[in-house]
Symmetry: C2
Subunit: 382 residues, 2 copies
């Protein structure tokens, strides 16, 4: 049975008037063909081009992979897998040449031609050239594919639930690890290990771990050697990627006494979280939701400088976004990260983010960690 | 003064008969324009295309960057920087559209046209299409650029020396962290933190941390939840990326008594390291060096299943490779990773890798950590 995500990819191609779709961004490749590749060490030195997913209007799937990704490709539902050697002791041809041969093999075997929907920002020229040489016409798929990906399938919701669980452990590890005199990187190492130990594997982790009034006011940043001190706010925004999907989460802690004015920011953010829990449901637009959350913060005399949230899936930030004026309607089956916050110069920043599943009548909070301002209070409670 | 790497990029373009070069793979972008981007969380959700470096025959440099990479782009020697917003609260246009506008602006401002040398495996179709619309002819630069990158500039050597220093600390942390009952991931967290603490920042780290007879026989792998046990060989191959350049290194340890036959593998690899130190010099080919190292291992009755080494720079594996028959001549100013090893089924694997700078008459070992088989012996010695 063809995976629902593959069928939606085929539908996106059809909506573009295309006979085929070729996906080249890793998040779209995973979505279309459920084949994963290592993303956390950059472009592989053993790849002559990206991992390619080719999807036909009828749901046929082809994959072009180097030998490092071969096992993942063979385990996927792909009907045809073309593999080239990324690293070989005896073969001294250019890896680009070997990629090209495998790609041409896949195009020929599957009979790719006619109108082909592609990702303009990542489709390599070598593939575009091969398609044009075959007389194909290229059109762009991103807009339609984005639309298809906005609601999640049951399988996706389970994967996202697992990622939320990983962030619960990461946030608990952060609570346990933070103390005056440790560096952000020391805390980060324990947070990351907590999530990786649960997964039993290395995980790419995006997000922020940043401390101090100035840094938290500036919303985020990767951890550094900065030493955490008494009175520091700490924003811990964790976005691990596991089994092709991303999690996300944010907590804000204070070591010791909060700086003057910080309580206001915290209460404003908490009020917006409460509003989210009460108001997130199908039938209102993302823009309306943004207004509700922004107003909740402003009613406490604070201001949120950034967006209030976004979709999540095989990408860490997906459509629709929770921003002013966004007309996309909230629908059942969407999984949204809502991250209302409040930021003030000289005071710092607070951001409280959970993962929410939109249900038929309201929502379910998928994250399982508590938002806690006081570290001492949180530790006393556990 | 134009950076030597930029001039070499321009030379590579000239060798292809091109007026301009456009670089799109992050390692080449860094090489050509010294602008860095985050690679360890995959393709950015806030990018409409890759960070672009545009280099003219005369050494003019243009960069197209999203606002996250803007600071790095402004600090670089680029003559022209086109920036687009990757994430904006109010702008709801597609990020791809904003990338396209910035890219068109750069092409127009710089007057890019004629013959343009590109990276076929990573140049996005949207850029190829814009160039072709301007009447440009595209040719491939990778082969010529690879040739230019084989020897390193003085600045590159200093950066690689720093990366070697980071691996020294990582290998020392591994020696200190390994013990029976700990998982590979627990050791990995300490190894990674040792390198990140020195850098004061998160680092992408490629390589292997794998334990046990079966896993080390299979050369490598990312760390897992596997518990390290008495008698386990451990391969620790660390490749961190810092300030645009990669380090690399490999040590092999045994917890407690080595498995039967393991000493032979270790002595064979050590003999090959000794051969490398004595024989690596300008004027022989990479293939001849490969034979020398392979023979040293085989004279001890063992066999190396993989390559004996590779170049390193802004990419973790660069040309030339130390493989059978490779005709590239060893030249002064090359920085090579040599990683002779020996692998036997039922016994395990050993790999001993250092970074070497080829000098006028021989070589200098840039790595500063010792290869140590016995953990107990190594700890007694420190």
């Amino acid at each position: 049975m063809t995976d629902e995500r593959t069928l939606r990819t085929a539908e996106a191609a059809a909506a573009c008037g295309a006979d085929w779709a070729i996906l080249t961004a890793p998040d779209s490749v995973y979505y279309a063909a459920q084949v994963d590749t290592i993303i956390e060490t950059g472009t592989s030195a053993f790849a002559g081009g990206p991992l390619l997913a080719i999807v036909g209007r009828d749901g046929t799937v082809g994959v072009v992979a180097n030998n490092i990704d071969e096992a993942a490709a063979r385990q996927s539902p792909a009907d045809h897998v073309s593999v080239y050697k990324g690293l070989d002791l005896r073969d001294r041809t250019l890896v680009e040449t070997r990629f090209r041969a495998a790609m041409e093999d896949a195009l020929t075997t599957l009979g790719v031609g006619g109108v082909v929907a592609v990702q303009a920002g990542s489709l390599p020229w070598v593939v575009a050239d091969a398609l044009e040489t075959r007389g194909a016409t290229l059109v762009e798929i991103d807009d339609e594919l984005t639309r298809q990906r906005m609601t999640k399938t049951a399988d996706e919701i389970e994967r996202l639930r697992w990622c939320a669980h990983l962030t619960d452990l990461g946030q608990a590890a952060c609570l346990a690890a933070v103390r005056s005199g440790r560096t952000e990187l020391e805390v980060w190492a324990e947070v990351r290990l907590a999530m990786e130990a649960e997964e039993g594997a290395r995980l790419p982790v995006a997000g922020d771990l940043t401390s101090g009034i100035e840094n938290t006011f500036h919303v985020g940043g990767f951890p550094t050697g900065r030493e955490i001190r008494e009175g520091d706010p700490i924003i811990c925004d964790l976005a691990p990627r596991a089994r092709g999907y991303w999690g996300d989460s944010c907590n804000t802690l204070v070591v010791g006494e909060p700086p003057p004015g910080f309580d206001t920011l915290y209460r404003a953010s908490e009020a917006a979280v409460q509003t989210a829990v009460e108001q997130l449901r199908p039938g209102i637009t993302m823009g309306e939701l943004d207004t509700l959350l922004r107003d909740a913060v402003e009613q406490h005399g604070a201001v949120n400088l950034i967006h209030n949230g976004h979709g999540i899936g095989t990408g860490p930030h997906e459509s629709p976004r929770v921003v002013p004026g966004e007309p996309a309607m909230i629908r059942e089956g969407m999984v949204l990260m809502l991250e209302p916050g409040a930021y003030a110069p000289g005071v710092g920043g607070v951001r409280l983010e959970w993962m929410y599943l939109v249900t038929a009548t309201g929502n379910e909070v998928m994250s399982g960690f508590p938002h806690v301002q006081s570290l001492a209070g949180a530790r006393a409670a556990t």
